[in-house]
């Protein structure tokens, strides 16, 4: 379980301080899927970096399973807002990076990496280098790199921002399927309310800078959900409208 207790984070520099997060309290249960929405610059990425142990809070405490997070943990995976691919590795090589670092069996994971790349629509680009890929393709490689690790905690920072609506929907649906079959505790930053409603058990709405938890909206829709026209559309639309209102 992830717990944020009164977490604040201020960035200090010569030009003055920026208070990115103020007094954020949040509990995320095991296997829960939490979406985080909020305006640009409100501290969403900062929040993920705090949970990932890449930044230390300037106030309050972040704990996972009761242990304070003081450094990155191997069971927590962060998908960064930028693709952050290694230019000297191919798409497949980039996806294999965590496998090599964690010393997992290469042959087995190689097949899995290839499957993941195919699943996100990168068939034929496994052996290409990042600079030969479009922005959205790079983001999908980064997504595969995060997913191959099967972590207990998955932190995703706008993972679909560079993708077209259709690919987004496909991948969100795949992500939902993955979460249903092998649920990881997930914190998912997104700018898309429909996406949040599709995927999340709870949606955390952050206020503008300094980011504070304005509201946590529970999404009580049965899974699997879909974007299309179905029985729950009305309920989903209501939920989306509420969120829109809040932002």
């Amino acid at each position: 379980m992830i717990r944020l207790a009164g977490v604040s984070r201020t960035f200090t520099s010569r030009d003055g301080d920026v208070e990115a997060l103020r007094d954020v309290a949040l509990e995320i249960a095991e296997s829960q899927f939490v979406a985080v929405v909020g305006r640009s610059g409100c501290g969403k990425s900062t929040l993920l970096r705090l949970i990932a142990g890449l930044l230390a809070p300037t106030g309050g405490a972040v704990t996972i399973d009761g242990a304070p997070v003081s450094r990155p943990r191997p069971d927590v995976v962060l998908m960064h807002q930028l693709p952050a691919l290694l230019p000297w590795r191919t798409a497949l090589g980039n996806v294999m990076l965590p496998v090599e670092i964690r010393r997992l069996p290469r042959a087995e994971y190689r097949a899995r990496a290839a499957d993941l790349l195919d699943a996100v629509g990168l068939t034929g680009f496994h052996q290409r280098h990042p600079y030969e890929l479009s922005g959205g393709m790079q983001q999908r490689v980064a997504l595969c790199r995060a997913l191959i690790q099967r972590p207990r905690v998955l932190l995703m920072d706008e993972p679909f921002s560079a993708l077209d609506a259709l690919t987004r929907e496909e991948l969100a649906t795949q992500l939902q399927a993955m979460h249903m079959s092998a649920p990881a505790t997930t914190v998912f930053v997104t700018h898309s309310i429909p996406e949040a409603v599709l995927l999340a058990d709870r949606v955390v709405v952050l206020s503008s800078r300094p980011g504070q938890v304005r509201r946590v909206v529970d999404v009580h829709l049965p899974r699997p959900r879909s974007f299309g026209h179905n029985a729950y559309t009305a309920q989903a639309a209501e939920c989306a409208a509420e969120l829109h209102e809040l932002l």
């Binding site: 970096r49 290694l86 670092i101």
Partner: protein, 245 residues
Amino acid sequence: MPPVLGVAGTVAVWWGGTRVFGIRPLFLPAPPDIVAAFRAQPGYLLREAGATLTVTVAGFALAVVAGLLVAVTLTAWRTMERAALPVLVGLNSVPKVAVSPLLVVWLGFGSRPKIVLVLLICVFPIVVATMAGLTSTPAELGELGRSLSATGWQTYVKLRLPWALPQVFTGLKVAVSLAVIGAVVAEISQPGDGLGAVIVLSGMSFDTPLAFAAIALLALLSTTLFYLVVALERLLVPWSRAISG
């Protein structure tokens, strides 16, 4: 084509200069004198060039290994850098001519003291450039490594060193030129063999064209080694040109 033109141009300027200003061969012999000096004993000159090449390459190879190790050590432990780098910079400024007799006293005659001198002269640029490269990993890649809980060793092998390679090669290019200079300095101070010995011995018998034939061979040697390093760079870091423009 341009390289040929460049060299031809240089030779022309030099030749013209010796003509127009009537520079005596003692100071700067004209190209034909040098060609004649080379053709008088090509076997000898090439043999000595071989000796210089051996010393250069051996010392350079050692310097690459030592330089990379030192750079990794200094960037991995900040305290280490603060303690050892000033010492390194200071030691590097000790004139090699002062060290050279000491090396003979410790290591005897032959190629060992020469190789050590080459190492001492050319290791510094490798250390400085590699350190610069290793500390220039983009923040997001550094964060990636940390978030993957990579060990220090893995961070270096998988992220920092590959990223640093283009800058390491800057160091290598400077170092390989210095290695040739180092070999010559060693050979001048201990003129058993090598092109440096040719330069100092022919200087003693006032045979300036022979000295300049040796210098021309040195220039050739140095240029060849430099472009070998450039070729290696193209081979090992093709991505670096792809991501810059």
